[in-house]
């Protein structure tokens, strides 16, 4: 398999194009500028459209518009820019418009820092906008995963007619790593995928011959609105089967690290080093943070596990609440946290595990 040496942001953009994405709108914000810049060069080559929107708010609305036509469409931003997109994302979720977006997250709250952080977990998994909608949220930990997850995200978005989020961070956006890129979908396939959406897509229908496309981000009738909420709830429940995680060396583990994304990959190498020293440590790394891979925590042997160590680049910890729900008081949960743009050090994780292991 041919390896390409690619920056995280660029791999996300290229994988999107290969998956059939033909529309991107975005607004500059560090550390995700390489995504719009890549699309600006790349989309014209494949007959797609790139628009630099006048704001994040406008950009997500453009993507909402483009995706309504059945076109695979994407936007990206970082943290405070993602907040601005909340309006449009909520509309997409309500109106069943399949979009993909990436958050190359940075420190927060507010304008925060431009350095990497994982402060947007709640926003990503619990409330990406008003109305209690949910989305599938993928948390890549390598450039390869970023490419693969973005490629698949468009399929999930169209399957569910719902937004899908790629939750990465400033490190993952900036690092360059070897990546085996997913295959380029041929033009005919991309056109066919768009045509397959035609019945609901906002492309024009003859009112005398066929039902019109009527894309409703809300309902006048309260009965219809309630039904829409129920349908959404059923969709969200159906995602249990889609939860993905990496469980590493958990069989005999006494300490189990829970970490996702950038923290997850750093923790993985901590596990590797600790194991060489004979420390019985394992890891559960959610690859989807929504749906959260709860069942993976049921596979732990709680007679043996002394503690779970939740590792996040977020202060206060956020994913730890999902971990608690999954662990259900079967063992203590501790945290190892950094934030503000500090990338968590492997040595810090190792020290935390050793402390718990001796306790």
């Amino acid at each position: 398999m041919k390896r390409t040496f690619m920056k995280g942001c660029e791999a996300i953009a290229e994988a999107a194009v290969r998956s059939g994405c033909r529309f991107f709108a975005g607004y500059p914000i560090t550390p995700q500028n390489e995504i719009p810049e890549y699309f600006a060069r790349r989309l014209p080559e494949v007959g797609g459209q790139f628009v630099q929107g006048e704001s994040e708010v406008a950009s997500i609305s453009m993507v909402y518009g483009a995706a309504q036509t059945g076109t695979r469409a994407m936007t990206s931003s970082s943290s405070c820019g993602i907040s601005l997109k909340s309006e449009g994302i909520s509309y997409c979720a309500s109106a069943h418009v399949p979009i993909v977006y990436a958050n190359i997250s940075r420190g927060g709250p507010g304008v925060g820092t431009i350095q990497p952080a994982q402060q947007d977990y709640f926003q990503a998994t619990k409330a990406s906008g008003n109305g209690g909608f949910r989305m599938m949220v993928f948390a890549p930990s390598t450039v390869q995963e970023a490419a693969d997850m973005t490629y698949a995200a468009f399929d999930y978005a169209q399957r569910d007619r719902n937004p899908v989020l790629i939750l990465a961070d400033g490190v993952l956006g900036a690092i360059i790593e070897p990546v085996v890129l997913p295959p380029m979908r041929p033009d005919e396939e991309v056109s066919a995928m768009k045509k397959a959406q035609r019945s609901w897509a906002l492309v024009g229908h003859d009112p005398a011959k066929e039902p019109r496309s009527f894309i409703e981000p809300g309902h006048w009738s309260i009965q219809e609105q309630e039904q829409s909420c129920k349908d959404n709830a059923a969709l969200y429940d159906s995602w249990e089967k889609d939860a993905q995680e990496e469980s590493l060396m958990i069989d005999d583990a006494e300490i189990v690290i829970a970490a996702y994304g950038i923290s997850g990959r750093i923790a993985r190498s901590a596990v590797s080093l600790l194991r060489k020293d004979g420390v019985k440590v394992g890891m559960i790394r959610p690859k989807t943070v929504s749906p959260f891979p709860e069942k993976a925590f049921d596979k732990l042997n709680y007679k043996r596990v002394k503690a779970i160590l939740d590792v996040e680049m977020s202060i206060p910890a956020q994913m730890v609440y999902d971990v608690r729900l999954a662990v259900k008081d079967r063992c203590p949960i501790e945290t190892c946290l950094r934030s503000g743009g500090e990338v968590i050090r492997r040595e810090e994780i190792i020290a935390s595990v050793r402390a718990l292991s001796k306790a």
């Binding site: 708010v57 993507v63 518009g65 309504q68 906002l202 492309v203 229908h205 019109r212 496309s213």
Partner: protein
């Protein structure tokens, strides 16, 4: 007997209007529908409606429709048109939607010269939310959020969208019309037709601003509203073609 006039196929047959007496939105939905039929583009038109009374039309029309987030109709239309150029895309927006919360989206789409048609319905007040001050509310005109009337020292002056967009290079067509008399209704239909023809020809951004009334929130009956529109609104918002790059 030959049928010389009928309901446009763009309006659903079985719907009864729930718009207020004297509201001109119903006239607008009809005019747009007639134009779409005349130009034979009904089957490939996508309408992007704003939030507010303008959005009520979604229930009445027979063709493709989406509601944009408040103020973002021009951005949504940009996405639809750019990704599917063969589709005819228009936005239908009120003054709060287009000129207040969506001012940035409106100006930016106009400035990019997006090949879309914008129908801007200006009645100088927020309708659905109950009579709050709009960017186009006249000086002295009372609103629920300006109980003493619009005061320039506090609220500034009414915003003139045709004049503002006329400062940009890209737009091809900007006209302000009204619907207070049969003659003006016919003129408005012609303007709408031109705005769609421009899009069919790929000419670029067209906007038709239509000055209308809101008897309910103006606190006037429909006939008094027409008088107010004629005497006050049209003095502040003069009718006419502000730009026509497609003129032979």
């Amino acid at each position: 007997m030959e049928k010389v006039y009928g309901r446009t196929a763009a309006i659903q047959k079985d719907m009864v209007s729930s718009l207020c007496p004297g509201c001109m939105h119903s006239t607008m939905f009809k005019l747009i529908g007639e134009v779409l039929e005349k130009l034979d583009i009904l089957s490939r038109t996508a309408s992007v409606f704003g939030i507010g009374c303008c959005g009520l039309g979604m229930q009445y029309i027979t063709y493709d429709n989406v509601t944009a987030p408040h103020g973002r109709a021009c951005a949504v239309a940009t996405g639809v048109k750019r990704s599917t150029p063969e589709t005819i895309v228009y936005t239908y927006q009120g003054d709060g939607d287009l000129a207040s919360i969506g001012l940035g989206e409106t100006i930016s789409a106009a400035n990019r010269g997006e090949n879309i048609t914008v129908i801007f319905v200006n009645n100088g007040i927020y309708g659905m939310t109950g009579g709050q001050m709009a960017p186009t509310t006249l000086v002295g005109m009372k609103a629920s959020t300006a109980p003493g009337g619009r005061n320039p020292k506090e609220h500034g002056y009414p915003l003139h969208m045709c004049e503002i967009l006329n400062q940009l290079t890209a737009p091809v067509y900007l006209e302000r019309c009204t619907c207070n008399t049969p003659a003006n209704v016919i003129k408005t239909r012609k303007a709408i037709e031109k705005a769609f023809q421009n899009q069919i020809q790929g000419a670029g951004f067209s906007m038709v601003e239509v000055v209308t009334s809101c008897p309910t929130n103006w606190g006037l009956d429909p006939i008094e509203s027409l008088k107010f529109l004629e005497e006050k609104m049209l003095t502040e918002f003069p009718l006419g073609v502000y730009r026509d790059r497609q003129e032979a």
